[in-house]
Amino acid sequence: MKQLTRFAADYVGYVLKGGTKFYAWMGSLAVLMIGMMYVFYLQNTEGLIVTGMTSQIHDGLYFANLVFLVGVAAGAVTIVFPAYVYHHEGMHKVAVLGEMLAITAVIMVMMFVFAHMGRPDRLWHMIPPWGIYSFSSMLGWDVLVLNGYLFLNLVCGFYYLWVKYTGGQVNKKWFMPLVYIAIVWALSIHTVTAFLISTMPARPMWFHSMMPIRFISTAFAAGPALIILIFMIVRNNTKFWVDDSAIKLLATIVTWCLGIALFLTMSEVVVELYARTEHANGLYYLMFGLHGLTNLVPWFWSAVVLMVGAFILFLMPRFRNDMKLLPIPCVMAFAGIWIEKGMGLIVPGFIPTPIGEVTEYYPSFVEWLLTLGIWAFGFFILTILLKGAIGILQGEIKYGAAK
C-alpha cells in the first residue's frame, strides 16, 4: 500500500515537472479545453441547434471523429502484437507507449460520445442496474467493448509500469493471457464500430459487409502513422530512444494496410458506379456532388490524393528509410484517412435521406471548437501518460530512488 501511494506521488511529481516548453504546450492545450467546456455547456443549454446537425443529417463531425479514434485505439495493437507475439526487440521496449496511446484514444472516443448525444445527462440509462442494457443495439455493444478495451489497457499498461517502478518481475501467468486478450479485443472494438453503421439497410452507402475490414485496414494505417510521428517527437525531445527497427516495422505496416484500404475503396467505387443504382447516390454525392450540391467533393479528392501520395512515398526507399522524410507520408496518410473515414464516410450516408431529400451539412463553429478541444484534451492526457511512462522506463522514477 505504501508502495502504491509512493508510486502515485512519484508519478505525479515527475509528470508535473517540466521546462517552459512543456508548460507552454500544456497551457495552450488547456486554453482549448476551456473553450471546449464552454461550447459543451452551450450545446446542453441551447440544444444541438448550435451545431450544423439536422434531422436529415444527424451525425456529423463528432460521430466522424468518434469512428476515426476507435481506429486509432485499435491501431495501438500494431505495436503490442509484434512485441508480444513476434517478440520484436525494438517494439517490446515501447509496447507500453502503445498502450498509453490506446488509453488516450478510448478516452477521447468517450468524450466524443458525450459531445454527440442529445441528452448526455441521461447516459446512465445505458448502464445497469439503474439503466437498461440492450443486447440488440450495436451502440450498446460498442460502449461495452470500448470500456473493456480501456480497462485491459489500463491494467496491462500500468501493471507493467508498476513492475518497472518497483524493480520486480512481470508475472507472466496472468499478464500474458491479458495481453493476448487485449490484442483480439482491439479487433473487436473496431469491428463493432463498423457494424454500428453497416447494419442499417436504410443507409445503402454503409450497408455492405466490407465495412469491418475497411475499418481495420484504415485503422492499422492511421494508428501506426500517428505512432511513428509520436515516436519521432519522443526521440527528439526526450532522452528516450526508440529503435529504428521499431519505426521501420511500423512504416511497413502502414504501407500495406494503406494499400489494402485503397484497394477496398477502389472496389467499392467500381461496384457502385458501374451499376449506378439509386443506392450509389451517397457515394456519387461524395465524389461528384448531387443535384448541384458539392460540399464534400474537395474533401474526398484531397483524401484520395493524400492517401495515394502517401502510399507511393512509402514505397520509395528514399522516404521509407530516411527518418527525416518519413514523417511526411505519415502525416499525409493520417490526414487522408481522417477525412475519408470521418466526414467522408459518415456524412454522405445521410445524403440523400431515405425519402430522397438532398441537403448538406456545415459543421458550425461550436462543433469545430468542441472537436478541437477534445483533441487538445487527448494530447494533454497523452503527454502526461507518455511522460510518466518514459520516466519509469528510463528509471528516472524508481521506488525508493527519489526523495
Partner: protein, 363 residues
Amino acid sequence: MTPNETPQACPAQEQPAGCPVPPASADPAACAPKTSRRDFLKAGGTLSLSSLMGAGALMAQSDDAHAAAEWAEHFQKNYRLMTDKEKDEARLRLEKRYSAEYGKKVTVDTTGPQPGVLMGYALNIRKCIGCRRCVHACVEENNQSRGKRPGEKIEWIQVLRMERGEFSKERMNQGYPEGLGIQVGGNAYTPAGQVLEGQYHYNPETVPEKDANYMPIACMQCEKPPCVKVCPVRTTYREGDGVVVIDYNWCIGCRMCMGACPYWARRFNVANPVLPKEEMNPVTHYLGNRPRMRGVVEKCHWCLQRSRHGRYPACVEVCPVGARKFGNLLDPNSEVSLVLARKNVFRLKAELNTFPKFFYFYD
C-alpha cells in the same frame, strides 16, 4: 367512397379505467386522475427514490416545486418498466408541470393498449390531392415544435410530390454514350413514378397539380421496426397494439434510430421545442403528443391520445378526400381490413422486411 363519409369509431374498445369520457372530444379536465394528491401520498408505503423526489416536489408548494418536479423526472425509470403506481406519479408530475408551463389544465393519458386491437392504416394514393391538411392537423394535434430557426419546425408527415414525367419524341434517338453509334441506353423520358425521389417542399397555387401525384409518408409502425432494434436504452419500443412509441424521458438522443429508419420518420429536437401556450393541445398521451424536450427524438404514433379511445387520428379526420383509412387489423369489418381484403395494396420498401402496418392502395 365519398369524401365526406362520417368517420366511424374504430373497433369496440373497453373504456379505459379512470377516464370515462374520450378525452379529446370532451373537457380535458374530465380525464383528470381520480386519485387526489393526498391519497397518492398516503398510498406511498414503499416509496422509491424517484417517487420520493416526486412527492417532495408535490409537497413543496413553493416556487421551486417546478424545478423539483423536473429534477424528479431525471430519476424516473423507463416507462415500460414502471409499476402502475410509478406511472401514476410520473403522470401527475407531468400534468402539474405542463399545466403550470402552458397556463391551462393539461392531462397526460396513460391508457395502455386495448386487448384484441392491432392498429393498421391504409392510404389511397390515387385520391391524395397533396393539400397537406394532414401535415398541419398533425402539427396542431401533436404539439410539434413550430419555430422559425432551421430544425425548429417539425412535421411528422411528409407529402412527397412526384413528377408524372415527360416522354418526348424528339429525344427518342438520344442514346448514351454515343460512341460508335450503337445505342446502349436512352434519354427519351424524364423520371416518372420514381418512388423516393419526391419533393415535399412544393408550393403551388392550387392542388392537385396536373403534372404531379402525391405520396404522403410518415412512420409506418413497422412490425419489425429497425429503429427499435438499434436503440441502446430500449426507450423506443412496440406497444401491444402495434404502435411503435418513444418514452421521451428515457431517450438519450443518440439518434441511432434515425439512422436505422428506412422511411425517415423520426425527427430530432435540436432545441427546446417552440410551442406557444395558446396553440398547445392539452389533451395528451404519455407516449404520444405530450410536449417534448430538447435533445430527444419524436415521431408519429397514430395519435394514441385519440386512437386508444376509439377516435380517428387527426390526419384521418381532416383529409378532405377520405384518402386515409384507419382501424383494427384484427377486426375483419374495420375499414382497414376491408381495404386489405378488397383493394390492391402495397407497402413501401417491402424488400427491407420491416413489415409496415401502413399500407398504400388505389382503386
